[in-house]
Every structure is written in structure tokens, then in C-alpha cells.
């Protein structure tokens, strides 16, 4: 709480040599350095705007401490995010798979450098122990690496040639569906977020993600790492705020091609799935997200289209 040095920025203080333990408040010392707190904003089209609505909402730690006031995105922010995602789609889907792999790997590099920050943030958000939080962060970084490796392999396992009965060469390839609207898991603030976002963009989609309503901060910090990696603006667009307020707009937006309802409680998925049907969205709503299990290729497969090309064989 105000007055205590231990805030969401604690990891930043922890990194400063000689300041370790400063927060314990030794009386004879000079007053502890006042931490510079972070404003948690949205991430749209590579920029960090506040909500156009001007709204924020308090985000508390598992133990009830106030961590920050996060931006509370509006439907207009969502609209802008979809526009940014669509704009980025041509470039990202048209990039070489090798290039996408390098960018995803670069994200992992950026996270590794901020490992301590994320451990602290995840710990704060989820109320987990340092060991648990660092396991989450390590798994997160490794998942980005895992997905980086998929970019130039998925087409090889999901595509192929088809031996048609005629003088034609015929091949099928997976292509990204377009803009994926994602409601990130509500509990796992960083690993869960990464596990739904990374596969979607690995195949060349761009996305609009609604972060965990109650635990949005690690995702916003991740966005800051994304902004310093080589990920083009607009490939991942992050909204924080109320899932129940935003998700209907995401589900009904006609320029969104796919909808991932992982972070929506089962009872609330139906209406969103109905809204999604108006533009024949691909809706992905898995029963559960087991973050410890092998992720498999289900999420890669969920947001691709198979394109089949025919050409005659002649002289």
C-alpha cells in the first residue's frame, strides 16, 4: 500500500545493487529511494495508449494489496485494436516463417533479460511463491522458444501434396486465418497468456487479446517486452479491462476471423459463440488449459485455413 516500498515495482528495486533490503526500513539510514511506478497501459498497434475512455480500474495482489490502476479498455479501444491487427496481418502473415521464428525467439530473449521482473509480477498477481512464480516465468520463456521453432515446421506437418487422379500437381498448405480474438486465461497471468497468444501468431495470425481481468499486469509488462523485441506493431494487441464488457464486441466484430474463448467460463461461452456465428468465425473453446502438459498442435491448427492449389502437369 502507499507508504510501503514494496509495490508492483519491487523487482526494480531488487535489481539495484546496495538497495537490497532497503524496503525493510532501517531507521538510521537515509530515506529509501522512492520507486518510480509504472503506468499500465494498453498495447495497440505497437503503441501504449491509455483507454480512449479515460477509465482505469484498480488491480490488487492476491493478498489484497493495490498493485496498480490498469487501463480499462472500451469497445472503441477494441475496435482500434482490431483495426491495428488487421493492418498488421499482411506484413506478419507475409513474413517468412524463418523471420517469424526469429522474432518469437527474440521475444524469449527479451523475457529472459527481465526474468526477475516477471517473477515478481507473477508472484504479486497470482499470490504464488517465488519458486512457483519463477517456474511460471521459465515455462513462459520456454514456450516462446517452443513456438519460435514451430513457425517454419507447422506447414510441413499440416500441409503436403495430394496425389490426385489426373495430370495435376496439387498441394495443400496451412495459412493463417487472419485476426484472432483471444480471451486469455483468467488465472495464469503470464504462462497462460503466452500459451494462447504465441501459437496463434506463430502461424502468421495477428491477434487482439483481452488479458486476465483481475491479473492483467504481467501481460502488460510482457507487451513492453514485445515492443522492444522485433515483433511488428499490431501483431499482438493487448486490452485490459472487463472481459464481460469487451468480449461481446470481440465476438461480434465482423473483421475478426477467429475467437478463442479459453479465458471465458463455460457458462458464458454460448452467447459469444452465437455472436461469432454472424461472420462464421472459427471458435476455439477448449474444455481446459493444462499448462503443464505438452501443448500439442491443437492451438496451431485452430487458427489456420488449409489452402489447396491445383496446376496442370503438361509441356
Amino acid at each position: 500500500m502507499p507508504g510501503k516500498a514494496k509495490t508492483s515495482a519491487s523487482s526494480a528495486t531488487a535489481k539495484v545493487p546496495g538497495r537490497r533490503g532497503a524496503a525493510t526500513g532501517a531507521v538510521a539510514q537515509p530515506a529509501a529511494r522512492l520507486a518510480v511506478r509504472k503506468t499500465y497501459k494498453l498495447y495497440i498497434g505497437g503503441a501504449f495508449p491509455r483507454s480512449e475512455s479515460g477509465r482505469t480500474y484498480p488491480v490488487t495482489a492476491a493478498d489484497g494489496r493495490l498493485l496498480a490502476h490498469a487501463a480499462q479498455a472500451s469497445r472503441k479501444d477494441l475496435r482500434d485494436a482490431v483495426t491495428a491487427a488487421r493492418k498488421a496481418f499482411g506484413g506478419w502473415s507475409g513474413a517468412t516463417a524463418y523471420n517469424r521464428g526469429q522474432v518469437l525467439y527474440r521475444i524469449a530473449e527479451m523475457l529472459e533479460g527481465r526474468r526477475e521482473q516477471f517473477i515478481a509480477e507473477v508472484g504479486d498477481s497470482e499470490g504464488s511463491s517465488s519458486a512457483e512464480a519463477s517456474a511460471q516465468v521459465d515455462a513462459t520463456i520456454d514456450r516462446w522458444v517452443w513456438c519460435a521453432g514451430w513457425t517454419d515446421k507447422y506447414a510441413q506437418i499440416a500441409g503436403g501434396t495430394n496425389p490426385v487422379a489426373g495430370p495435376y500437381f496439387n498441394f495443400s498448405i496451412p495459412e493463417p486465418s487472419g485476426v484472432v480474438g483471444i480471451v486469455a486465461p483468467q488465472d495464469s497471468s503470464l504462462l497462460g497468456f503466452t500459451s494462447v497468444v504465441a501459437p496463434a501468431i506463430a502461424t502468421g495470425n495477428t491477434c487482439v487479446v483481452i488479458a486476465s481481468s483481475s491479473r492483467p499486469l504481467p501481460a502488460v509488462s510482457l507487451a513492453e517486452a514485445l515492443a522492444t523485441s522485433d515483433l511488428p506493431g499490431g501483431v499482438i494487441n493487448l486490452l485490459t479491462g472487463s472481459v464481460s464488457e469487451l468480449s461481446p464486441w470481440l465476438a461480434s466484430h465482423r473483421d475478426v476471423n477467429c475467437l478463442d474463448l479459453t479465458g471465458v467460463a463455460r457458462a458464458e461461452r454460448g452467447d459469444l459463440a452465437v455472436a461469432a456465428a454472424d461472420s462464421v468465425k472459427r471458435v476455439y473453446a477448449p474444455d481446459a488449459l493444462d499448462l503443464a502438459a505438452d501443448p500439442g498442435t491443437g492451438r496451431l491448427a485452430a487458427f489456420v485455413e488449409t489452402k489447396t492449389v491445383w496446376h496442370p502437369l503438361g509441356v
Partner: protein, 322 residues
């Protein structure tokens, strides 16, 4: 045969310049739309599914008979064989005067005189292969002498072969000039230009050779010598019919197509007539504009004709062998 193709290299004004030099000719021929082999084959196969029955078949058989260039081009041809062939050409079915005579008899130059004598007054034309048929491997002077001898002996149609070696190596103007020279040597005789499509291999080459021959003044373009396999095939016929169709649309000059080699059955002949009808159009459905170069085809047409007339299937003993 028609008299539309009387001037060498005739055509619309925009085609006058294409034979100016080798590079112009090359540019023109290579500027023609490509032919997708698979698509052309599919179209030809689709036309072959037409079902020609009853009255349509009666018409098609008689029309096909009237389009036959009854041919013998063997080293052991004799005057007696040619005379017999001419008898059959004039009256293919001795038992039925309603059977039409064929379009022409086609022989080597040394037998032209025999055929001319045998066919006097029948209306059946005498065609002769010339220009060092079938290989075409002789000097131009020799080829022209070959043509002159046939024409002087009374041939009214000359079937020349192009120099495939020159064509395939891209010496288009040489081929063009040779056709022009032969055409001149023909005088009033009509010129059929044999492309030998079996040696041209690709349909793109068939299209270019067709246009080359038409530009040079050939009255007919003809598929094959009959000495090379494959000879006439449905996709080749398709592309050549498209060429005369497009040439007519562009120049107003209606030239003919002759398919030769390998066409032995009525079924094949009728399929080609369907192709002529639907690809080129009914202007080409006469012996003036379309021919079958064949020997055994005539007997099958006659047998099928018997079948349609009597209702009973015919046997080979009821038609004469050549």
C-alpha cells in the same frame, strides 16, 4: 477447294509485316497465346463424349467419306494398285451409288499421271506428296523440282512437308520462305502444308507452325506424313482448328485442316467432325476445308454405312481391300 488463299502471306494489314525478317516472325509466333496441354487434352476428350446417332450419324458418315484423301504412299505402290484405289475413290461402294466419292486420291509424284488418267471426269482430285516427302531433307531446288513434276503431271493438290529441323531450331523465316516458294511452284494447285506434329511435340509448337504455314500461304495445314507416330491426335487437331478459326477471324481468309495418319475408325472420324463443328464452326464442315488423309478409314466408314442402311453389322469381306 477455296480460292481465298491465293496470295502468298495474305492476311490483314497487321500481319503483312510479321514475315519481314526472322525476328519479327519469331516475335509474332512467340506472341501467340500459349496452349495448356492438359486443358487442351481435356477439351478434346470432352468433345469426344458427344453422342452422334441415327440421322446425325448418317450425315456424318457420308460427310466423312466425302472428306477422305484416299492415300497410298508405299515404296511398293504399283500403277495397278493406284488404278484400283482410284476406282474405289470415285465409287467407294459399288453396290450403292448413293455413297459419295472421296475428295482426292493421294499418291507419290511418279504415280500422279496414273491417277489423273484413272480419275478423269470423276471430280475426284489428285493430290501428290512432294518436297522430298516424308523427311523433307533435300535442297529447296530439289523440292521445287519435285513439286513441279507433280503439278505438271496433273496434280491439283500438293502436300508438302515443312523443314522440321529448321522450325525446331527457330529458323522460322527459312521455313516460311520455303512454303512461299513451294506455293509459287504449285501454280493453281492447292497447297497442304504438313507440319509433322509428332516431331513438333508440344502444342505450343503446333500452334506456331500452324500460323507460320497459314501466314506463308498454305491452303491447308496438315498434321502428319503418316510415317511418324504419333500422327493426328485430338489435341493436335484441336489446336490446328483453333488456328484456322483464329486466322479466319483475323484475316477473313478461311483455310483448311487435314488430319492424316492413324485415323482408322468411323468413331474417330465422327469425333473429329464434332470437333470441327464446335471448335472451328460449320464453315469447315466440307471437303473444301477439312480432309482426312487415310487408307483403311474408308472401309470402316463404308461398313458403318452398311450397318445404318441394313440394321445388321457388316463384315470385312463386304468391302474391298486395297
Amino acid at each position: 477447294m477455296s480460292n481465298t488463299a491465293t496470295t502468298t502471306g495474305s492476311g490483314a494489314a497487321d500481319l503483312a509485316d510479321v514475315s519481314r525478317d526472322d525476328s519479327s516472325l519469331r516475335r509474332f509466333l512467340h506472341g501467340l497465346p500459349g496452349v495448356d496441354q492438359v486443358g487442351a487434352e481435356a477439351r478434346a476428350a470432352s468433345l469426344a463424349t458427344r453422342s452422334i446417332k441415327t440421322t446425325a450419324k448418317v450425315w456424318a458418315i457420308d460427310t466423312a467419306i466425302s472428306m477422305v484423301d484416299l492415300t497410298t504412299l508405299e515404296g511398293n505402290d504399283t500403277q495397278g494398285k493406284v488404278r484400283a484405289l482410284c476406282m474405289k475413290a470415285a465409287r467407294p461402294d459399288p453396290s450403292d451409288a448413293s455413297a459419295p466419292s472421296v475428295a482426292a486420291v493421294c499418291v507419290y509424284p511418279d504415280l500422279v499421271g496414273t491417277a489423273v488418267a484413272a480419275l478423269a471426269g470423276t471430280g475426284v482430285q489428285v493430290a501428290s506428296v512432294a518436297t522430298a516427302f516424308p523427311s523433307g531433307r533435300a535442297s529447296l531446288a530439289t523440292k521445287l523440282v519435285d513439286v513441279a513434276e507433280a503439278v505438271n503431271a496433273g496434280a491439283t493438290e500438293i502436300d508438302m512437308v515443312i523443314d522440321r529441323g529448321a522450325f525446331l531450331s527457330g529458323r522460322y523465316l527459312q521455313v516460311f520462305d520455303e512454303i512461299v516458294a513451294v506455293k509459287r511452284a504449285c501454280g493453281t494447285a492447292h497447297l497442304k502444308v504438313i507440319l509433322e506434329t509428332g516431331e513438333l511435340v508440344t502444342l505450343d509448337s503446333v500452334r506456331r507452325a500452324s500460323w507460320l504455314a497459314l501466314l506463308a500461304g498454305g491452303d491447308f495445314i496438315k498434321t502428319s506424313t503418316g510415317k511418324i507416330s504419333p500422327a493426328a491426335t485430338p489435341p493436335v487437331a484441336l489446336v490446328m482448328l483453333q488456328a484456322v478459326r483464329d486466322f479466319a477471324a483475323r484475316t477473313g481468309s478461311v483455310r483448311g485442316v487435314k488430319l492424316a495418319g492413324g485415323i482408322r475408325t468411323t468413331k474417330e472420324a465422327v469425333r473429329y467432325l464434332v470437333m470441327v463443328n464446335e471448335v472451328a464452326g460449320d464453315r469447315w464442315l466440307s471437303a473444301d476445308k477439312f480432309r482426312f488423309g487415310a487408307s483403311t478409314l474408308l472401309n470402316d466408314l463404308l461398313q458403318q454405312r452398311h450397318k445404318l442402311a441394313t440394321g445388321a453389322y457388316d463384315g470385312p469381306d463386304y468391302v474391298s481391300i486395297d
